[in-house]
Each structure stands twice: as structure tokens, then as C-alpha cells.
Amino acid sequence: MKFTILVYENESDFSARTDGVRKDAYWGAYRAYTQALTEAGIMVGGAGLEPPPHATTIRQRNGKRQVQDGPFAETKEQLGGYYVIDVPNLDKALEWAARCPSAASGAVEVRPNLSM
């Protein structure tokens, strides 16, 4: 069963990516997590995303197009990346999601993928 782990990071997490002091811990933890998923044979795919200022949001309303800079919603935590994993059930998915480094600072959301 496929699940997507949506990784929500706060501003401090995003800045840790390039912070001279904290970046080793940040990337080390994510590399280790990604490797653990891969070695467990459950990794389907995923990607890390550039921070929210790099986002562009598009809406089509009544035939008019609105394009704006930034993410679709201004919230404290923003989508920073996602993993797609293949595990037997939700319990297993939660077990893996809890190990995601951002679970301890931001939030991690787990959703079953629709089968299409």
C-alpha cells in the first residue's frame, strides 16, 4: 500500500539547510533517513523542495488567471518535501514517518495514495 509522507518544515528548518553551523546536522539526518527508507526496500520516490519564497501559485477563476509569488497559504509550517513509500499498512507508515527528522520540529503528515 502506497503512502505519501508530506514533510512540513518551519522557518528555522528551512534556514538550517544553508546555516553554516546547522547544515551538517540537517543534511546528515535527511541523508540517513532517506538511506534507511531505501535500504528497507520501501522507498517509491520523493523530492526535497526549495523553500516557500521559490513558490509560484496559480489560480484560474471565471476565465481569469491569477499568478502570485509565494505558496498557496501563509502558514507557520510549509511543505518542504515528500516521500512516497510502499508499506503493508498505516501503522508501518506512521512508524517510518515518526523517524523523519522534521517530525521533531515541524510536522509530518501521512496520507494513503489513491490507487489510480
Binding site: 551538517d24 546536522a25 546528515g28 534507511a36 535500504e39 501503522d91 523517524r99
Partner: protein, 410 residues
């Protein structure tokens, strides 16, 4: 009394009332609903009319009426409902006459850990019925979706009712195995990450106090059971070190480097006393052995050193009784300290790859031992694996430091 202790005292009353109502109605859900309504009525009535002289008897009487109403409504056979009313009336009389009513929580504990009940549901059921914890809190502790946990609890309660599981203390010939299930369920609430080399399962730490409370309850209700005393001793030994597991900056401190001055002496003393009493029964068991291992660690506060040979020997005994992955990794760690990293690594080598794949302490110990043997490349791989399997940021950071100190090339 801490807030948590006060909360547990209040829960004690809830558990006793629920155990009593369930023992007679044989229906956990109906008893919970009835008791819930009695509490609601109390919240409504007591501030106006004053708290009754015997609050528990009052709650019991209200819950009893409610249970009978429900039974009537469900068109339960007349005779059954009459019988129910009679026993409840007797209960009420007993309750108001002595202000104490029979403590049926031991029977409830045995029902929760009954062999017919799915093992994964036993601890949650115990926490909910005996301690009144809500499903959402239990779900968080066990890392399960709250809706899923709620459904599991509903299903298991229906099973108790429909399968007619008896509310009784098992006969003496089956008591040891039935008690083991009860103790296992309590230990699962405590979490078993403490004897790991670096690992700690943070998700269960929130239930440590509840688990110790349940452990005390069992030793009080079943005095003279050495394994129950062993379990309580084990949990107290581990709990005694809580304050030493992180340094002032919040960094993870492994057991062997903990400052013994930060260990709780009263808890260690209580744990030691329990283990001594348990040993007098001359019926060794898994929990006594685990407590004995922690007791050897605790000796470091007195002697300044750890007798790793003794620990390895105790783990050997433990593996014979219960060959869990935790015991096997603990054995390997003790061997490594007593007889060298090679011995420890050899003990890890016999474990099946599929068993250790997701077990963080295995990788943490492997990394540590490979590093000591100068096998840098393999050590780094194991460090990365252990880090990726950690839930706790402090443990991740600790492993990363180990990783950084591993030599770059072999």
C-alpha cells in the same frame, strides 16, 4: 504530590468503579457508558447539592441505574435484568456500608490480557479500562492513528462481551502464564527501549508513570508473585535514571557515561528491595533477570565500575527464557565490553537480517563496535543506518558525533 500523581489517584477511583461495574455486567462498553453518565451527573449535581458523603457509592448507584435502563431497553431477558439489579443492589449496599467495595481490578487486568484478546490490543485496553486514558492519548503513545485505535478498542470490547470472557482470577495452574501476559502488557506501556545501547523509544516515555502505577497495583493485589515484583523493580531501576539520560544542553547520554549522582537513590533502593524479596521465592523469571541486569548497572553508583561478565551471563539466561531481539543486542553489547568488540560483533552476526533491518539499537551497536575495530567504511554505513532509524533528535545527534569521529578511511 505532583499533578501526574494526583491525576493517577483520581484514575484509581475510576478504575475501581469500572472494574466493579464490568465484573457484574460483563460488558466493558456498557459499563464505561454508564460510568461516564454517572460522572456527568456528578459534575451537574455536586456543585449544587454538595459532594455526597460516599462519592463512590453515589457514582455506583447512578451507574447501576443507567446499566439497568440500558439492559431493559435492549430487551435483555427479564431474568437476566432482575439478576443484574439484585447484584448491583448488593454492591451498592456493600459500598455504602463499608465505603469500600470489592476491588475487581485484578480480574479486569486478567481479562485485558486474556489469551483470546489480540496481543496488540491488550495494553491499550488496560490503559483505557483500568486507568481511564482516552484513545487519542493511547494512540499517540503507540504511534497509531487515533481513529484506528478507537476502532480496535471497540472491537476488543465487543469480543469480551460476545465471547463471554470470564472475570476471574485464573486457577493456580494457569496463573503463571496468565500473569505473564498481564506483566507483558504493563511492560509494553513502559516501553522496552531502556536497556538498549543507544536507543530509547521516546514515544512511550509518556506512559512510564502509568506503567509503574499499574506495576504497583499488581504487586499489591497479588503479593508474593516474584515476577510482578521483578517487573516493578525493572521499571523503577530504569526510571531512576531518567534525569541522567540527557545532559544540561539536552544531548543524549548513554547509560555507561551517565553521571550516577543524577540517578534517583530512593527509586534504586526500592527496586533493590523488591528484587531481594522476589529472589526469596526462588522462581527466577524474565522480569527478575531483566531487573537483575539493571541492578548490576546500578552498582556502578557504589563501585564505580560495571561488571560486564555478570551482565553477559544474565543476558544468556534471559535469551534462554525469552530470545527477544532486545535481549540479543543487549547480550552482544555486554560481551563486547567484557571480552572485546570482536566477541560482541560475532554475537550480532548470528541475528537474521530481516529481524534487524528496522531495529535501531542493532545498527547503533554495530556502528560503535565496527568503529572500535577500525573498520571505518562499515562503521559509517551502520552509523547512517542507525541515524536514519532514530526517532529522537538527541539520539540522531549523538550518532552523528560518533560518525564524525569515525576515521575517514580504513
Amino acid at each position: 504530590m505532583s499533578y501526574a500523581a494526583a491525576e493517577l489517584a483520581a484514575r484509581s477511583s475510576y478504575g475501581r468503579l469500572l472494574a466493579y461495574l464490568t465484573a457484574w455486567s460483563r460488558d466493558v462498553t456498557a459499563a464505561e457508558d454508564a460510568l461516564g453518565e454517572a460522572f456527568l451527573e456528578a459534575v451537574d449535581t455536586w456543585p449544587r447539592a454538595g459532594v455526597p458523603e460516599k462519592p463512590e457509592a453515589w457514582l455506583l448507584a447512578v451507574a447501576r441505574r443507567r446499566l439497568i435502563d440500558v439492559a431493559r431497553h435492549a430487551k435483555v431477558e427479564d431474568r437476566a435484568s432482575v439478576a443484574l439489579r439484585l447484584v448491583m443492589e448488593r454492591a451498592e449496599q456493600e459500598a455504602s456500608a463499608k465505603t469500600v467495595f470489592p476491588d475487581e481490578r485484578l480480574k479486569l487486568l486478567f481479562v485485558c490480557a486474556h489469551p483470546a484478546i489480540d496481543e496488540a490490543a491488550r495494553t491499550p485496553l488496560m490503559l483505557q479500562t483500568v486507568l481511564g486514558l482516552d484513545a487519542a492519548r493511547i494512540a499517540s503513545a503507540f504511534l497509531v492513528a487515533p481513529a484506528t485505535m478507537g476502532q480496535r478498542l471497540v472491537r476488543v470490547k465487543a469480543k469480551i462481551r460476545d465471547a463471554g470472557i470470564h472475570f476471574e482470577i485464573p486457577e493456580s495452574h494457569e496463573l503463571p502464564s496468565r500473569l505473564e501476559s498481564v506483566l507483558d502488557a504493563i511492560y509494553a506501556a513502559y516501553g522496552s527501549g531502556w536497556d538498549d545501547v543507544t536507543g530509547a523509544d521516546p514515544r512511550r516515555q509518556g506512559l512510564a508513570e502509568e506503567a509503574i502505577w499499574l506495576g504497583r497495583l499488581v504487586t499489591r493485589l497479588l503479593p508474593g508473585e516474584p515476577e510482578a515484583q521483578g517487573l516493578l523493580s525493572l521499571m523503577l531501576h530504569c526510571e531512576a535514571r531518567r534525569g541522567a539520560r540527557r545532559d544540561a544542553a539536552g544531548a543524549y547520554v548513554p547509560l555507561t557515561r551517565q553521571d550516577v549522582a543524577l540517578w534517583s537513590r530512593p527509586m534504586i533502593e526500592e527496586a533493590e528491595a523488591l528484587l531481594t524479596v522476589a529472589a526469596e521465592a526462588k522462581q527466577p523469571g524474565r522480569f527478575q533477570l531483566e531487573a537483575a541486569i539493571q541492578s548490576v548497572h546500578a552498582r556502578r553508583a557504589v563501585t564505580g565500575s560495571t561488571d560486564w561478565e555478570a551482565i553477559a551471563l544474565l543476558y544468556e539466561g534471559l535469551i534462554r527464557l525469552a530470545p527477544t531481539i532486545g535481549a540479543q543486542v543487549g547480550y552482544a553489547a555486554a560481551l563486547a565490553e567484557a571480552r572485546g568488540a570482536e566477541s560482541g560483533l560475532a554475537a550480532l552476526g548470528v541475528l537474521a537480517p530481516e529481524v534487524v533491518a528496522g531495529y535501531q539499537p542493532y545498527w547503533a551497536l554495530s556502528a560503535h563496535l565496527l568503529n572500535r575495530l577500525g573498520r571505518a567504511g562499515e562503521a559509517r554505513q551502520a552509523y547512517v543506518r542507525a541515524t536514519g532509524l532514530s526517532e529522537d533528535p538527541a539520539v540522531r545527534e549523538f550518532l552523528r558525533e560518533g560518525f564524525d569521529t569515525a576515521p575517514e578511511s580504513a
